[in-house]
Amino acid sequence: MFTEFLEAWTLFGDAWLTGWLLAAGLGACGVLLAARDQVFLGAAVAQATALGLAAALALGGLAAAGASETQDPHAHPHAHGMSGEPDERFALALAAAFGVGGAWLTTLGGRKESREALTAWVFLASSAGAVLLLAHGPHGLEEVKRLHASTLLAATGADLAWSALFALGSAALLAGGWRKLLLLTVDPEMAAAAGLNVARWNALMLAWLGLGLALSIRCAGTLYAFGCLALPALAARQLCRELGAMLAVAPLLALGAAGAGFMLAHRFDLPPAHATVGLLAACLPAACLARRLLR
């Protein structure tokens, strides 16, 4: 199985590397959401990002990609990658904006409505909005399906470069400011007393999450993005006794599951994103069991 996997590297190497880098970056970011007990925020931001992509499609920003797709039914709608096409940049910009905006909306909770309620609102409004925006488009609902369940295999060299930047940026952000981020997560009041600008750090975290999810959903779909964000962090929470250890274990789990998932998908002709998320989902009960046995 491993030899077959390596033989196919020339064909799918870029896609697999992109998937690994995204999994590692999202796995690390997910720890902060799991530490806040706000895992569902990831799903809401992912949906808001998908709404951004749907809005770009509805505005005609991807008309050219759609036209080329009619000529080649197997081509991925984002096959043009980040080659500098204004259409692609427009779609990514709008997706990032919606992601960041959705994340920001959830922070408005407190006085009149809880954060959880606003997160649910963002999730539901974005899910419905994406379908409504594209319902009457020529390839509308097909596009929505692609956003939710991509196969990852159409990732380009440019996607790979962006994913590497995201993974490196996440590593740098967490390595440089893990203690600050964790203090902000567990006790914002103490963080403010310690001289940290709580609003600025929160904004940075949410902006990074929005950008990362926009990139991931464009390359790999909502399922893969949210799966890699939430599941490794939840499994790591069961396995680790410290938050700092979770920051190392979650990306490693995501990388391992993505590696095994891609191999299984290649061997049994399955969609790689779904195989990876399936494995990650299995990691959580396994981690719970391991914790119980080790106690």
């Binding site: 530490a35 806040r36 007990d37 770009a56 505005l59 005609g60 920003g61 500098g84 096409e85 204004p86 940049r89 427009f90 779609a91 910009a93 709008l94 990032a96 904006a97 919606f98 960041v100 905006g101 994340a103 920001w104 203690r179 600050k180 964790l182 203090l183 567990v186 006790d187 009041e189 103490m190 963080a191 403010a192 007393a193 310690a194 001289g195 940290l196 609003a199 600025r200 904004a203 940075l204 949410l206 902006a207 929470r237 680790c240 006794r241 410290e242 938050l243 700092g244």
Partner: protein, 368 residues
């Protein structure tokens, strides 16, 4: 990328670089955009960043020329950014923004031979950066006024202070100076504004009116009412105490030493590897104290430290604080309704009643 608009014919004044030169145009664009985005990030209003992306994208979609798209994106960020940049001086923000817009129009009219989009982008970015610098300078001047007149030996001072929420004062007319090594207790009934005053003195709640001056704002420790963690979150005593070091530039060895010292001082050294969830209520309170002490603060703020403890736990914590008083030179500000704690440890009190704060000696507090 869509083709750029054809370059404007070269300036008749040959040899003098002008913005019509393609490289110069690109530099002007880049400088303007970077300055504007840097300012937006500086005041980091997240909606501004969210606004910039779709405006840039929409610009690409509608204008089909990079420079106009960039102008749209920059203008969308720059104008609200300008107002937010001057948030500390709101009255000046709008007239200045209007003057800036008028200035841009006049600049464009004066240099009508030059490509307007590039000119406006660069000038807008520069204007925004200048606004932020001016705002920072003005704020620094304000802060200098506040701290400049602090008497020697005073480490925290409240002057004509009104504390409250959303512009509505809960307490007003607060005036006192806290000297180094003094232990002050803010006494009052529930809802009298103890926590509000403490948070204002701590700097996490902006004053409604008046000023708070702190000699060393970086050397503050804070102990909240109780330790609250999401139930599923796992962390150890050692790691949690180490979170108090956030924002300090320390080596790994130094950080470990400080955490170990703080845990030893609060009697938690034996529990260092335990999970926080396994600690009792009193131990959790001591852990909060350890987290604050790990910073080696010169001023320690405690918010009703005994309110979540039973009589025995409160007594233990008081012993802990008494020990601390004997071993360290520390200024302490504590809000509490526990008069016994104040009598045992305090040097001064502030009594909060009917929206007023009266500074007094311990005898005054005892009489009430």
């Amino acid at each position: 990328m869509k083709p750029r608009a054809p370059a404007v014919p070269a300036s008749p004044r040959e040899g003098i670089p002008s913005p019509s030169h393609p490289d110069m145009r690109a530099w002007l664009d880049a400088a303007g955009a970077c300055l504007s985005l840097a300012c937006a990030v500086h005041c980091l209003a997240l909606p501004l960043l969210a606004l910039a992306f779709p405006l840039l994208g929409l610009g690409f979609l509608l204008c089909e020329e990079v420079e106009w798209a960039l102008l749209l994106g920059v203008a969308g960020v720059a104008l609200p950014g300008f107002c937010i940049g001057f948030r500390a001086h709101r009255r000046a923000a709008l007239p200045l923004a209007a003057a800036g817009a008028l200035g841009l129009l006049l600049l464009g009219r004066a240099f009508h031979g030059l490509p307007q989009a590039h000119l406006w982008t660069a000038a807008g970015g520069l204007g925004l950066a200048a606004a932020h610098l001016a705002n920072r300078r003005l704020c620094r001047t304000c802060r200098a006024c506040q701290t400049g007149t602090m008497s020697p030996g005073i480490c925290l001072e409240a002057r004509d202070l009104a504390a409250g929420y959303f512009g509505r004062a809960v307490l007003s007319g607060v005036n006192f100076s806290i000297g180094a090594g003094e232990w002050w207790f803010l006494l009052g009934e529930n809802g009298s504004g103890k926590t509000t005053l403490l948070r204002t003195l701590l700097g996490t709640l902006p004053p409604v009116r008046g000023t708070v001056a702190c000699a060393e704002p970086a050397a503050r420790g804070y102990v909240p009412q109780q330790l609250e963690l999401p139930p599923a979150l796992r962390t150890t005593v050692r790691e949690y105490a180490g979170l108090g070091l956030a924002g300090l530039r320390l080596g790994r060895g130094e950080a470990r030493a400080r955490v170990a010292e703080a845990l030893a001082r609060t009697g938690l050294a034996a529990q260092a590897r335990m999970e926080v969830a396994e600690l009792s209520g009193g131990q959790r309170q001591r852990l909060l104290l350890a987290r604050a002490l790990a910073r080696r603060p010169s001023v320690l703020f405690l918010d009703e430290p005994t309110s979540a403890l039973d009589a025995r736990g409160a007594e233990d914590l008081a012993d802990e604080l008494a020990r601390l008083r004997g071993t360290a030179t520390l200024t302490l500000v504590c809000s509490t309704h526990d008069r016994a704690l104040a009598r045992r440890l305090g040097t001064h009190t502030v009594r909060l009643e009917n929206g007023r704060a009266v500074a007094g000696s311990l005898d005054t507090a005892s009489a009430h």
